[in-house]
């Protein structure tokens, strides 16, 4: 495709100038809040509002570099005990992510490749559930957890998140698109068990979707605020989102502390995203293609 003769318009330097100009402008706008966040997390509390970004002074670029401090980060761990919320968040996010992805993949595969009674009704139910607002379920779920005695428990927060209709829908599409039925049949002729077929033949084929959905659910639970705020009671069980929001004081907020907490909350998911980036992009979109 690159060999096709470029038209005059595409050759012009002006066109590329505009194109890159727009891209760089949008990228800058996207990055400004991050820069703001990072600066804010490093500024000491007493001069926090004196400058928008970094404190001005005599240092390089007119910035008082020596005023910057890691004390907010230090305080988060030393005084606010942030190790525990980080562990909790990792626990919620990874366990919900792994189980929700596994369950979704299993049932998406079942809906796509098997004929069984009730298949159509389950498929329709899943499609209908896509438009049900999560907020509708907040109230009855709260009552349900109360009856099960699961309020203020890890289970109460994780369990309801394990049946994402969206995930089943995505995996059904992905399986239809990328798992050939002939492969399954030949595997069966070779005497493979169903469980083994799923794990060794199906999963590798829908790997992009696995990666994408793992990341998506991980992200969702990692940043879930309302659920934890409603279900949990004990301070030690709280995830990062609640713990950080907790720092908003009644008589004034220590913004540096909150911004440092926010930086901490972004770094792990950023790392995961970088690792899973390729799959995430291809997987997420594979599901969107109509099957």
């Amino acid at each position: 495709m690159a060999q096709t003769k470029p038209t005059k318009m595409f050759k012009s330097v002006g066109f590329y100038g505009v194109l890159y100009g727009v891209l760089i402008f949008c990228a800058a706008i996207t990055l400004v809040p991050f820069a703001y966040l990072l600066c804010a997390s490093l500024k000491p509390t007493d001069i926090f509002f004196d400058n928008l970004f970094l404190p001005s002074g005599d240092g390089l670029f007119g910035v008082a570099w020596d005023q910057l401090t890691l004390s907010h980060f230090h305080r988060l761990f030393a005084e606010e005990g942030f190790a525990r919320p980080i562990l909790n968040s990792t626990f919620f996010a990874s366990v919900s992510g792994v189980l929700a992805t596994l369950f979704s993949a299993m049932s998406g595969y079942a809906l796509a490749k098997f004929r069984f009674r009730g298949r159509d009704s389950v498929t329709n139910l899943v499609l209908a559930a896509l438009v049900v607002p999560g907020a509708l379920l907040l109230a009855p779920n709260y009552q349900l957890l109360y009856w099960f005695g699961m309020l203020d428990s890890y289970t109460g927060l994780i369990l309801p998140a394990l049946a994402p209709a969206f995930g089943v829908y995505l995996f059904r599409q992905a399986t239809i698109n990328s798992v050939p039925t002939e492969l399954l049949e030949s595997a069966r002729i070779d005497g493979c068990g169903e469980i083994k077929i799923f794990f060794t033949f199906v999963l590798p084929l829908i790997r992009p979707m696995m990666g994408a959905f793992l990341l998506l659910t991980f992200l969702g639970s990692w940043n879930n605020f309302i659920g934890a705020q409603i279900v949990l009671q004990t301070p030690e069980k709280m995830p990062l989102a609640v713990a950080i929001n907790q720092l908003r004081g009644v008589y004034g907020t220590d913004y540096g502390l909150i911004m440092a907490g926010t930086v901490i909350s972004i770094l792990p998911v950023l790392g995961l995203f970088l690792l899973l980036q390729k799959e995430f992009l291809s997987g997420l979109t594979a599901g969107a293609v109509k099957g």
Binding site: L111, L136, E185, N223
Partner: protein, 291 residues
């Protein structure tokens, strides 16, 4: 066993999902119908009020205010955000663009930040002596240097914050959609001397329609559920003159601050009904176009 797999296989595969789905999705949906005809004070105290909740809702000015606001937000999201996402995707998709992965990563990165944190960050940036007023006044000196965004431009501010959060996320979908655009068709059109706009309408749009309509639906569902962003940005309220009151915020206030889970369920069902109407309309429209 005509397809060569044991009869139990699909049932086993789908069982874990279905068990959770029925308990925490299907059952609560039905149960919320039961709750909707009751008035409750938490999970313990409840009285049967039959259709009173719905009757009250129909004439509840705050509810309708919330519906109006939510519609404005949804319209803003779909009409501003998605064209921007598509535009960025088309720029990035241009085959000569260097650093595509880099730009893609930048545009996507806001999606990694939790909504609560975005709200706290934008709260600072929207404040009267915040970054946004500072920059706008610096660029255009006529701009009021102390414009009260969160008093006089509440919905607009929410739409802007959501724009930052989701443009890149939706761009990913469009990027994948653009892979379906046939290079041959596009070049043939160019040889025929078709301008950029007819080329876009006749070649690009038909190719990306399936994914685009999926993204429109997802955005609608998402923006109808606007809550956390507004709740934190407006300090746990609907903002001045309820300009930022959303349906889910109202539901949350009723259900989890007044603890009238019954009325909250009634609100949830009306919201679900609205969403389903939209989903049906949206499906009709996209099917109609396909013919």
């Amino acid at each position: 066993m005509n397809s060569g797999y044991p009869r139990w296989a699909p049932y086993v595969l789908i069982a874990p999902f279905l068990a959770v789905f029925v308990t925490f999705m299907a059952y609560p949906m039905l149960y919320s119908l039961v709750l909707a005809v009751q008035q409750t004070y938490g999970p313990k105290a409840s009285r049967f009020v039959f259709l009173d909740n719905f009757a009250y809702l129909l004439t509840d000015p705050l509810f309708w205010r919330a519906v109006r606001n939510t519609f404005v937000f949804a319209a803003g999201s779909v009409l501003i955000q998605l064209p921007l996402s598509l535009g960025l995707a088309m720029l990035l998709n241009h085959n000569k663009v260097k650093g595509r992965i880099f730009f893609r990563l930048i545009f996507f990165s806001p999606a990694l930040v939790g909504t609560v944190f975005i709200a706290v960050m934008f709260g600072l940036m929207f404040s009267r002596d915040g970054l946004i007023n500072f920059s706008l006044h610096g660029l255009f000196s006529v701009f009021d240097p102390e414009f009260p965004w969160l008093e006089r431009f509440v919905m607009g501010s929410l739409i802007l914050a959501a724009l930052w959060q989701f443009v890149g996320f939706n761009m990913i979908y469009f990027l994948a959609a653009l892979q379906n655009v046939s290079k041959e068709l596009s070049e043939a059109a160019m040889v025929d001397g078709a301008g950029p706009w007819p080329r876009f309408m006749n070649v690009t749009v038909p190719a990306i329609r399936p994914i685009a309509s999926f993204v429109v639906l997802l955005s609608l569902i998402g923006s109808f559920q606007l809550f956390e962003l507004a709740w934190v940005l407006l300090n746990n309220s609907g903002g001045p003159d309820d300009q930022g009151l959303t349906v889910v915020m109202y539901l949350y206030q009723k259900g989890f601050i007044s603890f009238d889970l019954g009325y909250a369920s009634a609100i949830g069902w009306v919201l679900a009904a609205l969403l389903m109407v939209f989903a049906v309309i949206q499906r009709r429209v996209s099917l109609m176009d396909e013919d």
